[in-house]
């Protein structure tokens, strides 16, 4: 289990792609921090799978309700990194 302090945007997109693939119409390398996940082609299942991979990889528990309420990468990263900080 990797103990990392912080999940970066690049780390998140890597996990998203592995978990749920990537929409051909979307450039995940672009400026997507504030783009809605729905517009990036990701639904709630994709985010649940991503969340569960993050939990396994970082050895943390994410709060279900707050993860599901995060609709952009910025909000999602904030939730994850807050949990990581608390776990540290």
């Amino acid at each position: 289990m990797t103990q990392q302090k912080e999940l970066t945007l690049q780390g998140l997109t890597t996990i998203l792609k592995a978990a749920a693939g990537a929409d051909e119409e979307v450039d995940l390398e672009g400026d997507i921090l504030d783009v809605e996940f729905a517009d990036l082609g990701y639904d709630s299942l994709a985010l649940m799978e991503t969340g569960s991979r993050i939990e396994r990889q970082f050895g943390v528990r994410l709060n279900e309700a707050t993860v599901l309420s995060a609709t952009t990468p910025r909000a999602f990263l904030a939730v994850v990194n807050e949990s990581l900080a608390q776990a540290a």
Partner: protein, 422 residues
Amino acid sequence: MNRRVVITGIGVLAPGGVGTKAFWNLLVEGRTATRRISFFDASPFRSQVAAQVDFDAELQGLTPQQIRRMDRATQFAVVTAREAVADSGMEFAELDPPRTGVTVGSAVGATMGLDQEYRVVSDGGRRWLVDHEYAVPHLYGHLVPSSMAAEVAWAVGAEGPTTVVSTGCTSGLDAVGYARDLILEGSADVMVAGATDAPISPITVACFDAIKATTPRNDDPEHASRPFDNNRNGFVLGEGSAIFVLEDLEHARKRGAHLFAEIAGFASRCNAFHMTGLRPDGREMAEAIRVALHEAHMRPEDIDYINAHGSGTKQNDRHETAAFKRALGEHAYRTPVSSIKSMIGHSLGAIGSLEIAASALAIEHGVVPPTANLHEPDPECDLDYVPLIAREQRTDTVLSVGSGFGGFQSAMVLTRPERAQR
């Protein structure tokens, strides 16, 4: 040739008591059969509650060989099929094998058996190249769930059209709808049809955990299934089976059979939206209801009771509430709606047939079963959901609906048989 299809026999295995009578008593008393899972150690899982059937295969008359080769869900189906035939008053000898068919609905087939046997041949998940030397001889029957229909056909002596219908959580409605079509078109006079599922197994619990569809209300299992309640947070897994004897009305009349209900209309539609998600407007379910009513030559005002899908997920409860309003208009507000999943959980493919059984019995007894655990309705669910206590009410016509992964939306109209004889 205007054929009509009636239910003349009912066999039920449900959580909370064995047999049709125990099932109906539980429902009208508003008791719940949801408990902590006891089949395996559920403590590592997010959701640890389920509604289990108190089932002893040997007591139910299955032979040791049948018990060995059949998955639990198949055992359920065989037991309830025999019970349905006995209930229909038909002697096995009266059945004309070529004119008798079988349709068994199941969402997940022999999942329990597959989960158990996989552990053995893979040595606890350690071998990708699983070991055939440890495979049980009946493993093929687990692989392909048509074995369920085969076992039922053998048990009742059917040699007409036989199949499994597997449309996720609408399987129980769709299997009966399929069988009805076979009678209507003249391919069979009698169909032994219904559904079964026994999914309470680690792989099923884990896969619903992964999408947070099942409730984590582990500290209060008896009140964990809360359709339409503001404090609901997912469904409770269940298991069981209901199988019916369906007959052409003339065939049933000739032998003086007791008629429980006519299946007056049925339709299914697909939302083509998402494998697990529902469109909030309920359009496809409303369309299925509209077509089922049309087939039954009925208007929305004819519906006396709606047996809802009512799984107890926020998404579902709002989706179908919208569908009822869309299909029935103002009449939706005047019609009692209830979910028996509040009491016996959600047995995936089987539940649709258990709900048909409840609907037929509501007509028979003039009682509408309640929605248990409904104390504080979701403000967005503003229909009459018959909270907590069953309601005595003459019930001539019932609408039963289902909704399933894959986008399936099904609706069936059941009606009092005297009405069918107009």
